[in-house]
Amino acid sequence: MSEQLGDGPPPGAEALPANQLPTTHIGNEERLFRAVSDHENHHATDPSGMLLHLCHSAFNDREKRPSVDRENLQTGGPEATRLNASDGIVVLQADEVRGIHGVVTLDAKQQPLDSHAVDVWHRPLAENPSHGQIEAAPEIQSPGTWKRLKESLCRVAGKRGWLLRPASARESAPL
């Protein structure tokens, strides 16, 4: 008889579906971890070799809701946010994400059509209770608006530099 392994529910207990997992408010001071895969497209070393830039594609997300992990609930530390051991980790602070202003969709005449508030919500997953998402309300439809928001997210993440560098950049100087 094999022993049960892993972090699943204890024998006899039923796992809650993801949409029924308890959620809590994310405080403004909370730090959020974002994993950045060690793909050459996602980061760029400055010609000086001193800086490691975060590229817009580090926030690529088909649903326009980039995932983050809440530091407070990530019991495994930033390493546990990585999907692969080679991933890097950047940090965003919740109030700075909420403080992104000017997320506006423009019409063909460059007049404001929609104004979007950016927030971060706790969206726990069965396998990751610390999971959250950066979301805009109303949802962003315009590709141009999304491109500008990604630039802003890169800036916000860039303020604190890399908590963990991607494996291919771990030998170079810190940001």
Partner: protein, 168 residues
């Protein structure tokens, strides 16, 4: 042309020109400049963007969901558009300030992107199958610290943005 202080920043941001670059350029010109009637500026442009052209070719190998974020595979026509404009970007850029090859990536919709950073300033260009966009970024506030324009075929918007990257 840009002022002296901006020129120093431009040199620092571009990493300067290495001995290897100069030697490579000499070999390239000797190998490709066959006759006096050859278009030497075209040859130089091709030399200074050859690493980028190789990276663009590599984009063809990225599959659907290459980034684990559900992104489309880079669009072949977008790659071709970016590759075709690259020598022209070099010619325009190098006429105003030191040239630097872009960081190349792609977005969720399969568009190709070029990115350049210098200090607090950044330029991002997106290439679709037949469109080009340019975003200037100098802060996180989208309304006050970014500009986002469609780029015309003559690349005027890039010609204005390139020296701006170094002038702060």
């Amino acid at each position: 042309m840009i002022a002296d202080a901006a020129r120093v920043r431009a040199f620092a941001c571009s990493g300067g020109t290495s001995t290897a670059d100069v030697q490579g350029l000499r070999r390239y010109v000797q190998g490709h400049l066959k006759t006096p009637s050859d278009n030497s500026s075209g040859q130089l442009a091709r030399f200074f963007v050859q690493r980028s052209q190789a990276k663009l070719r590599n984009l063809h190998d990225l599959p659907e969901d290459w980034d684990g974020a559900g992104s489309a595979a880079p669009n072949a026509e977008a790659i071709a558009n970016a590759a075709a404009r690259l020598p022209e970007l070099y010619r325009i850029g190098a006429a105003h300030a030191p040239w630097r090859e872009p960081h190349i990536s792609a977005n969720e919709d399969g568009e190709v992107s070029f990115e350049w950073w210098c200090g607090p300033r950044k330029i991002t260009m997106y290439f679709g199958a037949s469109t080009i966009e340019l975003i200037r970024v100098w802060g996180e506030n989208i309304q006050d610290e970014m500009s986002h324009v469609q780029v015309n075929p003559d690349l005027d918007e890039f010609a204005q943005a390139w020296p701006w990257l170094y002038m702060y």
